[in-house]
Symmetry: C2
Subunit: 222 residues, 2 copies
């Protein structure tokens, strides 16, 4: 691709994962452009983040629509206006419908704060504490019609420690979220992800030597 990937990000809250992606785009790690940030809530701090980085920030109030499908029709319209090719959910607290998924096949990403398929749905960190697991983590996945059931791209694990609260565990998981979500977006932007059924294949990084290897090296490593 000659032009960078155009990304639309959907948020409902603070958008700290949005920030981690903005940072890696701005420092040149991800070759992509966030062309719009959309929130169903006018007070989402993610909208303010977008504005600070000169990204169009759009409030699309779900209460103005008759239902989920009608809302998603408007979402798709807006995303298409901006030429979006990848939709990134970053704390978007709404269930998306096939209206959105069919408009962006295999091009809607989400991150969930658990090692799926364990603890899908809301309050995943508290679910993990209540169950008494020793390891939990986060999962970046393609979104499908189910709740947190789509094909998995990356997972990272963290320990649950004695005395953990929902807050302390969420913070530990979030550190990993901010590592793996930008990494998955980068893989997508580099065209390295392919989906076959439930399996996501990650092609080697273009910089990885595959065929021949000259000796001595004629170019220094990247």
């Amino acid at each position: 691709m000659s032009t960078p990937l155009k990304i639309g990000v959907l948020v409902s809250g603070s958008g700290s994962n949005l920030q981690s992606i903005i940072t890696q785009i701005e420092n040149g790690t991800i070759d992509a452009e966030i062309v719009c940030v959309i929130s169903n809530r006018s007070d989402a701090y993610g909208l303010e983040r977008a504005q600070r980085h000169k990204i169009p920030a759009i409030h699309l109030d779900h209460r103005r629509f008759s239902g989920r499908e009608a809302y998603d029709v408007a979402l798709v319209e807006t995303l298409r206006e901006y030429g979006v090719r990848l939709v990134v959910l970053a704390g978007f607290m709404r269930i998306v419908t096939p209206v959105l998924l069919n408009a962006f096949p295999h091009a809607v990403l989400n991150i969930h704060p658990a090692l799926l398929p364990a603890f899908p749905g809301l309050h995943a960190q508290q679910q993990a504490l209540d169950y008494g697991v020793r390891l939990t983590g986060c999962t970046v996945h393609f979104v499908d019609a189910g709740t947190d059931t789509g094909p998995i791209i990356i997972q990272a694990a963290v320990p649950v420690l004695p005395g953990d609260t929902e807050e302390s565990l969420s913070a530990r998981i979030q550190t990993e979220e901010h590592r793996i979500y930008p990494a998955a977006v980068r893989m997508f932007a580099e065209g390295r992800l392919s989906v076959n059924g439930r399996t996501v294949t990650i092609a080697p990084h273009p910089a990885t030597p595959t065929g021949s290897l000259e000796n001595p090296a004629v170019e220094p490593p990247a």
Copy 2:
């Protein structure tokens, strides 16, 4: 406790986890004694392992009993004859009933080849491959009346790698099983595990300094 913990191990197959525990008892890492190994199958290699280490090996054929409860009554009788205080399931391919669990409250351990609550039941490794997770692992837990639902003691994670088969993934998980199952048995033998609802608390190792610390040290560290 002045006498070492008496352990009974139940197997149906090769008993490689049995071997990992035998090894750590023989090298002095775990202060315990395996007083009997019981199998529902006469051809279980675990029985042969036991005999090689001079451990009583007992074949208790489930087909001779009218049902699960009747079988477990016989199991409990045998375990009590040997003075067992901890029951370790090591590839025991039978569902245990409250008959066994009530006779050994919070004293029946199992290991499962997945990061529970993900992928309970049979063929956990194939379930993980079919789902497409990037991380899986194994879980040592106290056994309760459900299938792989009991309070968790230790979990270890391993990556699922491109091209993995059920065999290659199982082997990678088994390496971790052989580390964490003896470790959990050791914690039990040291009296360091307590169960409160779904939460297992692990008391610090007796060698861990807790109260005071003299300086300079008056004894060398263990």
